[in-house]
Symmetry: C2
């Protein structure tokens, strides 16, 4: 399936000078969104696809920023010429969400009211706020209606929120490895991650940057724990089992099993590249997401005015957002008489499967996007 690459791409920072009123009552006087686009917007502006990112994602969805860059964008297997989200057909937009740490306005950028970085003063934003900011981006790009809004995990939540809040602006929503709201267990894992960061002495109440500190310990623990929950138990067993890192037991607290080496490496890598305040607010956006709440906690009612058609996908071994959670959405869509295609992909890769090269999954998205393209031409 893997075909061409979008090649070398450049991000762009789009300034928005209009104030944005947030769900928590605060107002952002202005903001920037860092974006990347691939493909060409057609004359009718009917072929635009928005890619919404998950917890640690960003605008760099596909291609390379330079010939030296080792790894392509985070969904390069899905987005490119001839790929399921085909850049020969679609104008694809990736963005870094508000509160992110990859160039959009967030904890790492300057608060115009103080002249200092926002840090912990950056407001807690929600999926609804993100979608609102994304409508301003759509307006800026001249896109009245997205051919599709696509996302996995927290990205899928944004796609769903789009169809509810702006029903006439989304033709298709692809909601992958997601859920209509978090469970108590999901929230619990998020809270432990947050507590690890908040209680790291180097967190300094979120103003660590001003003190030239980084709460790497907390971020590392948060990521290590998160990583376990993104993987399937069976997949972990097949990949690592009880394999030892060295010969024999060490009877100490260094790396003993290969799984420990792997997890600590993932934790260290993440702690070195991700902002702690952003991690905190992304997990809160996950916790708060519950579009049915506004509609008497009735998801079917929340979907009543939706005009989009849906593609919903889940992965058999995903226990963070299990197939059952996707089926809740599918059942509500069916009850609300909305068109929906659902696929449960057999996979050993747990929640992370949505980022991976699974033949059945990639083909299902490709087939669905073919229909999206036909709709966009009509």
């Amino acid at each position: 399936m893997r075909k061409g690459s979008v090649g070398i791409v450049a991000p762009e920072k789009i300034p928005f000078e209009t104030p944005l009123v947030l769900e928590n009552g605060q107002t952002l006087p202005r903001f920037d969104l860092m974006i990347e686009t691939y493909g060409t917007l057609n004359a009718e502006k009917s072929n635009a696809v928005l890619i919404c990112h998950a917890l640690s994602g960003h605008h760099h969805v596909a291609g390379y920023h330079s010939a030296q860059e080792k790894h392509p964008g985070w969904w390069d297997n899905m987005v490119g010429p001839g790929k399921p989200i085909d850049t020969d057909r679609f104008f694809v937009v990736g963005l870094n969400n508000l509160g992110g740490c990859h160039g959009s306005t967030g904890p790492l950028t300057q608060n115009p009211e103080t002249g200092k970085d926002y840090g912990a003063d950056f407001p807690v934003v929600t999926v609804k706020d993100w979608v609102k900011s994304q409508t301003m981006l759509a307006d800026h790009l001249g896109i009245r209606k997205w051919a599709a809004v696509v996302g996995g995990s927290l990205g899928g939540m944004q796609a769903l929120q789009w169809t509810i809040d702006y029903p006439d602006r989304v033709a298709h929503a692809l909601v992958i490895a997601s859920a209509p709201k978090l469970s108590a267990q999901n929230i619990a894992f998020n809270d432990v991650a947050r507590q690890a960061i908040l209680t790291d002495p180097d967190f300094s109440d979120g103003h660590y940057a001003q003190e030239s500190k980084i709460p790497t310990r907390g971020l590392r623990i948060a990521r290590m724990m998160g990583h376990i929950t993104y993987l399937a138990e069976d997949g972990l067993g097949e990949k690592f089992g009880r394999d030892l890192h060295s010969d024999g037991y060490q009877y100490g607290y260094g790396v003993e099993f290969e799984i420990e080496s792997y997890l600590r490496y993932q934790g260290d890598k993440f702690a070195g590249r991700f902002d702690a305040n952003t991690y905190l607010l992304m997990t809160k956006a996950l916790d708060y997401f519950d579009p049915a709440a506004e509609y008497g906690h009735n998801l079917q009612k929340a979907l009543k005015d939706v005009q989009a058609k849906f593609f919903v996908a889940s992965f058999s071994t995903d226990w963070r957002f299990s197939p059952e959670r996707s089926k809740e959405l599918v059942r509500a869509l069916i009850a609300a008489r909305k068109p929906v295609q659902y696929i449960e992909v057999q996979s050993d890769h747990g929640h992370d499967a949505f980022l991976m090269e699974d033949e059945a999954y990639i083909r299902a998205v490709a087939a669905y996007m073919n229909n999206v393209y036909k709709d966009a031409q009509a």
Copy 2:
């Protein structure tokens, strides 16, 4: 089912002045085991039952240390007059394992070679070491053969190890909510817990006591995460769901959902009462446990000379030690032609179910212990 209490009980510290050679090659020159006993040892010394504890357990299994004590011992619903492990019939022994923090020799006790507390210098002990020390305790009590060795989780591992290492000294083994070895996912969760403690600045390389510090941050995170994994997702959902702690969203990092309040409380309570070095070494004992390893990684072979009869129990929603893990043991016992009774209890309480008052579970243990009693009389 809940019948009488063993009433007010007093622990006893048993000194062992014989050196104990550990699996890691180190020798403990001497050690103490803190124990509690209930009921009366019969003249034939055939009615003794050993209770092995799990990660955070100890010798105080049943009854109260004083009339003021609020909560009884940790398995009071299982042990007492007329209860499944009936102290009118059995002489029941509870102990705090080596390396524990409840009075037995461990990180909190004095190293006779230095005159200072062991702290981080206490050696990493294994399930095999514990069982070896428990044979010395049996000898001290004049017990040649246990009527039963009983344990849940890490306690069940000790019961299993007993039957393999000392086949003629155990008549029955009750292995509850346990596994013949940890999976990669189990080890991964343990390692994140350890990393949370080891990287807490107040851990001070394990010599925090000498510096009058306690690594409460790390212990708290370890326990919060552990606690999530001990509970069932559905059980958490039913108990907490998305219930808010106050009215409406707070848009901050204080307690927002009830599940957060509960977890933080559990974490704080644990951090205030448990020793960090003990937590570390208990999790290592879990990781290392793999009795089949000595027998070419063939569990059936490891069980070849076992003389004990087995009772194995698992709980439907326990995902830390799932029913599948108990079945591995059951299948190996059957293949090795050893008598085994197996029950999978339907429960909403996840791994913690083994400590709880479930009618079907309690009755199954009671029925099995009735047979144990008959065997002990024969």
